[in-house]
């Protein structure tokens, strides 16, 4: 079942291979995966600098670091050299290309040089890989645990770590040393004071924590901390079948669950080499866009409450309730939809789906217009949002931003446009960008995105396809009951699917979609069994929150609140 391998043509590869003489190789990959370069730990930094700076490569955006423990892969003898792998996922905003830079690491003391100096966005990703996989990053400025607490022992995503092994945490980390390292004059305890913000604070809309050193109202240093909602998504995925992972994906970005499930299903479908029928594609696209609207509405509504504009919250939540109605009719759940399936959808959309969806649009449009009328030209909103939380284009790229926050800084990267999936290639829509990079830009980009989402929905509803919603590949979708009862083959398919689950051919993929907050990537590794070998999510919020402490430094505390809300950090996705 394995797909044919091809060697991707990378224009810069000959130069790089020449330069690093045999220490970098281009790996053969199946067509559905991204191009991959393999190097070793000693060459990594050199290769990284080349990939960033060479104009033919220009991989300026650091997307993800996906680590793998290969010790339980079939054919892998433990103790042999490459037990661990560090896969750096890179993207070039200029060339619209993804690249995986792979380093193989030994079982004993896996260590690579830190790439924080090359791509600042690598900082937290490396801490995460250290925390969960135990890969050491030499030269990292602060290689500490990130997602788990300080009392934790071991590295949870290693294959020999028991999934249920908990460690008690009885005390909070006060983060004083980290903060002191960031304050210019740590000895000066009279002029400044420490302000703890979160993890249980209303404006974090979840469980985020920032400890600040403030001079009056001004923030002189800040240290952000996450992991207060680390629910072990990746470990849980490894212990469930491919289909059972879908409910877990719902709870990543719980403001727009449909998008996560869709992204995951798409990744697995690519590995399986199956295509879903047009009706499923259309339904997925429509619901994705409704989810995007819901997500942006929560972001804007909740953020405006923090700024003191309560009315907008009610305006934002009314259309959400109505979209929930539609989702409930489709899949039976309001929030955690679990609607996407590998190979299609859980079940067909209701008969009146098209009319129903269409009837929601006027309400959404009206409520958005209400918010627009209250806020967009409002003097208070201008004072609070304009010029606060500014992120320049260069900063946004260096910090690994994607999604509305990147577009608000003037980089028009949108996966839906640049690497279309589902039905996005067949519809006409614009990618709104702003150039100011401040909170107001992020607000205005989101407002416009909602209108564009409605445009997409309208176009698809106008030619909503008929037919089945599930692929007829019975390796992944249960065959119809008549077939099971009357044909031997049907019975076998049914039996195998129920008892063994979907079997994804051994292999690896990085698949990405446009989540509500940015690029949502899944790095999946399969060993050919019914369970995923490794699931790594590239959460859009992660780099956003990592950069938060840098954005707010030098600003006011109250502006930090506005910035936090409009970056839209969702804890479920941040901590997984």
């Amino acid at each position: 079942m394995s797909a044919t391998l091809t060697r991707p043509s990378l224009s810069f590869a000959p130069v790089l291979e020449q330069k690093l003489k045999g220490r970098v190789t281009v790996e053969e990959r199946p067509a559905h995966d991204i191009a991959t370069l393999v190097t070793d730990a000693a060459t990594l930094k050199e290769a990284a600098l080349f990939l960033r700076d060479d104009p033919a490569a220009a991989y300026d955006l650091f997307l993800d670091l996906a680590s793998v423990d290969r010790s339980k892969l079939p054919g892998h003898a433990t103790g042999k050299d490459a037990r661990f792998q560090a896969n750096y996922i890179l993207y070039s905003t200029r060339r619209n290309e993804h690249l995986r830079l792979r380093v193989n690491l030994p079982a004993k003391d896996p260590a690579v040089p830190s790439l924080t100096g090359v791509w600042p966005a690598a900082n937290w990703f490396e801490r995460e890989a250290w925390d969960l996989m135990g890969i050491r990053f030499d030269g990292h400025p602060n290689l500490q645990r990130l997602l788990t607490h300080n009392g934790f022992v071991g590295h949870a995503l290693r294959k020999d770590y028991d999934k249920g092994q908990r460690w008690l945490c009885t005390e909070e980390d006060l983060l004083q040393t980290e903060l002191a390292a960031k304050t210019d004059d740590p000895a000066d305890m009279f002029e400044t004071m420490t302000l703890n913000f979160g993890p249980s604070h209303p404006t974090t809309h979840g469980t985020l924590r920032v400890v600040m050193r403030v001079d009056g109202e001004k923030i002189v240093a800040a240290e952000s901390e996450c992991g207060y909602l680390h629910r072990c998504f990746e470990k849980m995925s490894e212990t469930h079948t491919w289909v059972q992972v879908i409910p877990y994906t719902d709870r990543l970005n719980y403001c727009s669950p449909m998008i996560n499930g869709n992204g995951y299903a798409l990744a697995v479908e690519k590995m399986l080499g199956i295509d879903v029928p047009p009706r499923a594609k259309a339904a997925r696209t429509v619901l994705n866009e409704f989810s995007r609207i819901m997500d942006h509405l929560v972001c804007i509504g909740a953020n405006l409450v923090d700024l003191g504009a309560l009315t907008n919250f009610w305006y934002a939540f009314q259309p959400r309730e109505e979209i929930y109605g539609l989702l409930e009719a489709c899949c039976g759940a309001r929030l955690t939809s679990s609607y996407a399936r590998i190979g299609g959808l859980a079940k067909d959309v209701p008969d009146n789906f098209v009319e129903w969806s269409r009837s929601l649009l006027p309400t959404i449009r009206d409520r958005i217009a209400d918010i627009d009328g209250l806020i967009t030209k409002n003097k208070i909103a201008w004072n609070r949002l304009r010029g606060t939380g500014v992120v320049t284009k260069e900063q946004a790229i260096a910090w690994g931003f994607t999604g509305p926050s990147l577009r608000a800084s003037g980089v028009p990267y949108d996966v839906r446009k640049d690497k279309p999936y589902e039905m996005y290639g067949d519809v006409d829509f614009d990618v709104p960008i702003a150039t100011e990079g401040d909170n107001f830009a992020r607000y205005i980009v989101r407002m416009e995105e909602m209108r564009q989402s409605m445009r997409i929905i309208e176009q698809i509803l106008a030619r909503f396809p008929k037919g089945p919603v599930n692929s007829d590949d019975y390796r992944v979708i249960l065959p119809p009951k008549e077939m099971v009862y009357n044909e031997m083959e049907g019975l076998i398919y049914h039996f195998k699917l129920v008892f063994e689950g979907v079997k994804v051919p051994a292999g690896e993929i990085y698949s990405f979609t446009e989540g509500a907050n940015g690029e949502l990537g899944y790095s999946l590794v399969s060993d050919g069994s019914g369970f995923p070998y490794r699931v790594k999510v590239r959460p859009p919020c992660f780099p956003l929150f990592a950069a938060f402490e840098k954005i707010i430094k030098g600003g006011m505390v109250s502006d930090a609140v506005a910035t936090l809300g409009l970056l839209n950090i969702i804890a479920g996705e941040l901590d997984r």
Binding site: H205, C232, Y248
Partner: protein, 229 residues
């Protein structure tokens, strides 16, 4: 002179005094009645359930109808802690601190299966039910619970406050958690043995923090049925 028809009672435990313009009641009952109808919730929202909590307080489901709309984000101003979402080990000390900061009388609703039992996160970093850390009065099932289900939980709590049941248990250092589900007939007390013991006066009461999750056998279930009606 005709006697006026008997009036319906003004509140639980408050008898109507037909025709008269005063009431007699016990102070406790009046206080409990007032407390149950003016709960000040503090949402300890951590995850997806918090989003549903937002729906409950916003216009469509309107928690104000139950007198519990004054959402406070300072534990010192709240008397009802609604834990909405997964609590992980790293967050556990925070939850404990928030609970300790609330002043008596205080109640706890555990919203969603994650807060109640860890949900489908049987994993290395997730608290397997917040009753490991704080006592819980009402468990609301669902992932996330529908807004109706949470409202049911709150009404259930109101009943318990009004009946004085919780106050009595607090005084004797016990608490009586109950589970509510989509089907009220299937609601099961979490500490069934303890509850039953108290109601029948046969057994020792469990101490705060003692969990008896395993005691959900058929007998306990049947007993619970008797005990609650």
């Amino acid at each position: 002179m005709k006697t006026p028809p008997p009036q319906p009672p003004l509140g639980p435990g408050i008898p109507s005094t037909s025709g008269a313009d005063f009431l007699t009641t016990k102070l406790d009952v009046a206080v409990q009645w007032a407390q149950s109808n003016s709960l000040w919730p503090m949402p300890f929202g951590t995850a997806c359930c918090a989003i549903e909590f937002m729906s409950v307080v916003s216009s469509h489901y309107d928690l104000a109808r139950f007198g519990a709309e004054v959402v406070r984000f300072s534990p010192r101003q709240a008397d009802l802690l609604i834990v909405a979402g997964t609590v992980v080990d790293k967050l556990a000390p925070v939850l404990k601190k928030v609970y300790d900061q609330m002043s008596e009388p205080k109640w706890v609703i555990s919203m969603g299966v994650c807060a109640s039992t860890g949900g489908f996160y049987r994993a290395y970093h997730v608290v397997q039910g917040i009753d490991e850390i704080v006592p819980v009065d009402v468990y609301v099932a669902g992932c996330p619970p529908t807004p109706e289900n949470l409202i049911h939980g709150i009404m259930e709590l109101q009943k318990m406050i009004q009946s004085g049941e919780l106050a009595r248990h607090r005084a004797s250092k016990t608490f009586v958690p109950i589970r509510v589900g989509t089907d009220p007939d299937l609601s099961i007390p979490a500490y069934s043995d303890g509850v039953m013991a108290h109601m029948t006066g046969k057994k020792e009461l469990p101490q705060i923090g003692v969990t008896a999750e395993s005691e959900l056998g058929a007998k306990a279930k049947a007993d619970a049925g008797e005990g609650h009606r």
